[in-house]
Symmetry: C2
Subunit: 347 residues, 2 copies
């Protein structure tokens, strides 16, 4: 699959800067919101951007590696939490309702059926990945299928008139998958990429690092310059579907809301396939998961929120979205010094 | 004036903690939002807090010290910006509209009339303060009047059914007043309290520091243990009215939204009069104004946002408010492990 993402044309940048700088406020006084307004205007190629039908896709899947004792929670929690999402009881439900974002729950590869829950979108590749401590997590065909399914979901949001897409995830064991993807694709030490996930103590963290060190060692021939092979070897179906959704949404020039550590790992894979994607990304928060700060630096991302969140589900996207609205709002609605009759700086 | 602020009864803390910890998320995974939920529940003394009629009071006033060349903008900008507020064109208008907060613009002591703008609330003490480089900024009677007028505005919001109050300000020269208040009340070096305000360059900053150093020296007999005397000597009418509003609102057990450097200086004065006020404060953001970080540390405040804002007007309150809603929302609306049938941590 080829991805054709165009970097936004920078020709408009000067005019956007002028519009921001003539608003009734000291130069630069809205800080990071000004950079965000600039970005959204460039992505949409207009001085008057607008946000339509913001939506969060939450991809859920199980991980073979979860059976190796890398998480604080048993693997069946993935299935249980998808039920919770479908019933509206999770944090992402609360925050999407509050801030006016749409929400779709996607079964990308959870063990067990959701046939009784029509609200759960069935994009199941398999009943969880294989344990990558023993072999590749998925086949190349499964990986391609996952990317294509994610892309199709982004297409649907675009066709529905949306121009803002957030991605989130649920999958017991997926901080392990994300950490290994980060390690292999960035060559950072595995110990800097592995964190406490849902809340491991020091002993649990040491065990997780040992399991993952051994698992990485089990794939000696892997070419780090082949992101798809790395994704297939260590990824999860939810991570691969997120990557596909992000890539297609950027092709469609949608604004991308990036959540925490695992979503950022999916973006890392996507950015290795098509680096231009980064111009479309709003980094919603810096997670408390060790590794995320470094991963953000690797991606050149400056997070909007630093609240010590480590929940995933796309919660950072939903919580940061009002700041994106604020950036667009001030650009469109604030008076200029001239229109308001306010004096500028002294000479 | 005596202020009777009761520290919230902590008896409910354990039950609030249990409610938070049984929500369908790993322990602590909502980070700072969990601490915020705990605080709001304690302030309201209930396991099911609710936010009613959130409102921002923006107090505007002129400062005699502005004539000493401490700002990048001419003093008439205070008047002009109040007109801009009244016409809905400023950043605070945009953000309050977006996030559903009410807004009242208060003329606490601006030079010039707003008789043609009935939306501007007339609480004018005088046409700006005196230049504190030459004498006290205001008389003790003016200071008491300002506190009382601020308190009355808070009473009105409470009587209207509001339980969330933010304060913001506009006043050319008021980072100078705030910096000196901070210096005198905390005994921190003046150079650590003085910043670039609306955007001074290095030369302007040096000049501002020199002017303020001399001004502080002109009041050798001042007793730092007498917050009202310090406020009267260096404060602004907007700062004094903010302090009065915050004190009364805390008496009424309202949740207080604290904006940037100047609002925090008003809170510092308030906290020296009644330290229990701090339990009611949500620190909305850490400003880019040098001094604010230190002032937050002095107040024990942990900011929700760090976006490099330095605009004032209450913009930080309006921007952070959705996070307060999110904290209350997850506490009230999320399912528990038991109700959702989700497994907890492994033993």
């Amino acid at each position: 699959m080829n991805w054709n993402i165009a970097a936004p044309d920078g020709a408009l940048a000067a005019a956007i800067g002028r519009k921001i700088d003539t608003k009734t406020k000291p130069l630069g006084a809205l800080g990071q919101l000004e950079a965000l307004a600039r970005q959204v205007a460039l992505v949409q190629q207009t001085l008057a951007p607008a946000l339509h039908r913001p939506h969060v896709l939450v991809f859920a899947a199980d991980h073979g590696i979860a059976r190796a004792g890398v998480s604080q929670y048993p693997p069946e929690v993935t299935h249980q939490m998808v039920r919770n999402f479908a019933q509206g009881g999770a944090a992402i439900n609360v925050f999407c309702r509050q801030n006016g974002l749409g929400l779709t729950i996607v079964d990308a590869g959870v063990r067990g059926s959701f046939a009784d829950l029509p609200a759960v979108r069935d994009e199941k590749i398999a009943e969880g990945t294989q344990n990558f401590a023993e072999g590749p997590a998925m086949t190349a065909a499964q990986c391609a299928d996952a990317l294509a399914r994610g892309a199709r979901l982004a297409d649907e949001r675009h066709a529905a008139g949306g121009n803002v897409l957030g991605v989130g995830e649920m999958g017991i064991g997926n901080t392990s998958a994300a950490a290994v993807l980060m390690h292999v694709l960035t060559n950072r030490p595995l110990a800097a990429c592995v964190g406490r996930g849902t809340g491991l103590d020091a002993t649990g963290l040491a065990r997780k690092l040992a399991v993952l060190t051994q698992a990485v060692g089990a794939h000696p021939g892997l070419d780090a310059a082949d992101p798809l092979a790395v994704l297939a070897t260590f990824g999860g179906f939810e991570i691969a579907q997120m990557a596909g959704a992000l890539l297609r949404a950027a092709e469609r020039r949608m604004l991308l809301l990036i959540d925490g550590f695992i979503a950022s790992a999916a973006l890392l894979v996507a950015a290795r396939l098509a680096p231009e994607i980064l111009a479309y990304c709003v980094f919603c928060h810096e997670s408390d998961e060790q590794g995320h700060r470094l991963l953000l630096a690797e991606l050149g991302g400056r997070p909007l929120l630093r609240l010590g969140l480590r929940l995933g589900e796309g919660t950072g996207c939903a919580l940061a979205y009002p700041l994106v609205q604020a950036a667009v709002g001030f650009l469109n609605e604030m008076a200029s010094f001239e229109s308001a009759g306010v004096s500028g700086e002294k000479d």
